[in-house]
Symmetry: C2
Subunit: 233 residues, 2 copies
């Protein structure tokens, strides 16, 4: 790979087709439109299986136009990932020392389940990227994500030290929570097959959420907040 390439002139060092400096409003809107078309394609086919042509068709634009805005397929893919990364960390905000552990964990699980319902494609793109080695976002995982996890692990360890929660392995607890919640987005067709559904409904996800909240709280040695609190943040 990356063979000598007998091409007459070396690949130009990016002719800088886009200003980048001042992304006008119209420009950002169009970029957004392309990203929205790219999401389902990358989610359904993976990076390797997705084609710029397919994305272009879904966006209703000529292929060359995508290259005008994003340069390369990889850059478009990266932009799509970047758009969703921070969204990933938001749920962590529930995990703070002063909050009641049961409340905090229940809210965390509900937030992640809501994300699986509202943005399943983003989750699939992310899952794909990680499964295939996280080539593009490896740096993010081992810096920003790890820091955030370390911080929240300390909170949970604090709860455990205060006897407010069973002494779980906080890091592995997070792995379990991520996996258990995202499975409803990433592996939806498997869930559908087992539940004998054509599509997952909001009611299915609500039931899954109730199961998970109760299961996780018990797993952490916490009493589920009486019977079943129907809603509330």
């Amino acid at each position: 790979m990356t063979a000598p390439l007998p091409s007459v002139r070396a690949k130009r060092a990016r002719p800088a087709p886009r200003p980048a400096a001042f992304p006008s409003r119209a420009r950002r809107l169009k970029e957004q439109r392309i990203l929205e078309a790219a999401e389902p394609v990358f989610a359904e086919a993976g990076f390797g299986g997705a084609s710029m042509q397919a994305i272009a068709e879904r966006a209703g634009l000529p292929k060359a136009n995508l290259h005008y805005y994003f340069g390369t397929k990889q850059a478009l893919y990266r932009a799509l990932l970047a758009r969703n990364l921070d969204l990933w960390l938001d749920a962590f905000d529930h995990i703070v020392p002063e909050r009641d552990p049961a409340d905090a964990l229940a809210a965390y699980v509900r937030d992640k389940m809501r994300a699986s319902w509202e943005r399943p494609l983003a989750s699939k793109v992310f899952a794909n990227e990680v499964i295939h080695g996280a080539v593009e976002i490896g740096g993010y995982l081992s810096t920003k994500l790890r820091q955030k996890v370390d911080e929240k692990v300390a909170v949970i360890d604090g709860w455990a030290a205060a006897g407010k929660i069973a002494p779980v392995d906080a890091r592995h607890l997070f792995f379990t929570l991520w996996a258990a919640t995202q499975t409803y987005a990433d592996f939806d067709v498997q869930v559908c097959a087992v539940l004998d559904r054509r599509h997952l409904t909001k009611a299915d996800l609500a039931r899954a959420t109730d199961h998970l909240v109760a299961f996780v709280l018990r797993g952490c040695g916490l009493t589920p907040p009486a019977a079943c609190p129907p809603r509330t943040a």
Copy 2:
């Protein structure tokens, strides 16, 4: 797509290059070798991103040879999936009515964790297939897998009715168990990043297993078998 295709003669109805009737021992060995080369390629790149050339190189064979044995890329992919499907169901054997629920669930989790350690690539190929819609194995999911799950859900419901286990939603419990165990195979690089490891070690997986067993048993309202039973099947 599937345009008229002005090709002179229609695609031949598979010239049947392989006998299929009597797969000789030598033949099966070679097929196995090709499948083994295909596994990491499909796992790392997905179906769309994998190329027959890449698989051929990994197997140390000319590309045409792969086509001699498997005909098409899709057939090779299907064969690879089929090889691992039944392996998938084995762990279910622990879930039987007469067994102690805590024992059975612990054994189930340990089995699935062992699979994540021993055959992570198989898990990744499977995960990929499901994420991208389970086009090839959709039938399997909604028949064999669903039946098996229904059967085991009945066992767990039986335990619950007998008061031997908390009244969990058995089907969603399985989703949680699958997700929580397979995450160590499918999302290993994410786990690595957070744990600050280059590779996951057997010790890492052992710790993860202990966490999960304890967490799951508590989650089902069962007492973890005293402190920490170090091994035993």
